[in-house]
Subunit: 145 residues, 2 copies
Amino acid sequence: MSIFSKTCEYAIRAVFFIAHRTESGDRVGIKEIATGISSPEHFLAKILQDLSRRGIVKSAKGPNGGFYMDEQTLRRPLVDVVEAVDGNGLFVGCGLGLVSCSEKKPCPLHAEFAVIRKNIHQMLVKTSIGDFTEDLNLGITNLKK
Amino acid sequence: MSIFSKTCEYAIRAVFFIAHRTESGDRVGIKEIATGISSPEHFLAKILQDLSRRGIVKSAKGPNGGFYMDEQTLRRPLVDVVEAVDGNGLFVGCGLGLVSCSEKKPCPLHAEFAVIRKNIHQMLVKTSIGDFTEDLNLGITNLKK
DNA sequence: AAAATAAAAGATAAAAAACTCTTTTATTAT
DNA sequence: ATAATAAAAGAGTTTTTTATCTTTTATTTT
């Protein structure tokens, strides 16, 4: 198990990649993104179609088409990407899978999980898609394999 | 997505239940555990077989048989249960799924995830299976549905 | 020894997640 | 208008996870 689903990992890596490649305003094709983040091309295509429908990335068909981002999408918090793909199960909901778990009727790990869930949520709310472009440009960080 | 797999959620709930029901030293059957934690009986049986092989729970066949725990297993940290079922992917490994991600060649969220992973790990190391028995006995916490 | 009990083991089935391939639609450039 | 390009959409397949059912093995009680 990892924190995010595979789909969500690809989604986050893809939006980082697009942000980093479209600062100048131009577009980047699915093939280039897929190789750039080491993901299966057609599977990623499905994911980006979905993110596009939800307005998290922009896309254009035809020659010189591809995926890109505008100032507004670059400022969207990471939590928007995660929620679009994996839903909010990571932030709400019981760590032990109990639907009835609540402050009143808590599971044994309720308090412990509250802290962890809050940490994850805050991290994803504080960070925006565009925040990571500079380090990628500088080669400090990396999205491949 | 939730933090743990369904299997792991059942496993944790089951060990809590067994700990809580076997303080007095007696054994509890798979049927009783399954209804006590709202899990599918045969699926849970598989999980407990595995935990039993790994020494995380004890079991005995035949009349008056069932699952139980001794002092030693009650003191084992929760992380042992999680690692037995879900592996250590939650504590080690990259949040974005990059196998090559490291301090030297980090993914963009490397630092952010380091904190979260450490939180989760510490929580699971600090808490033991037996730590939750009292609250369950008092009816403060709950393992059903 | 025989019957009853309960976990272990084996074999299968259903559902969800991950992944692939093909066709269609929109856009641009010639 | 035509050809070329690239995403969108549709229709699968494969793998993993979750779940069920049946048979076997070990243990206890009578």
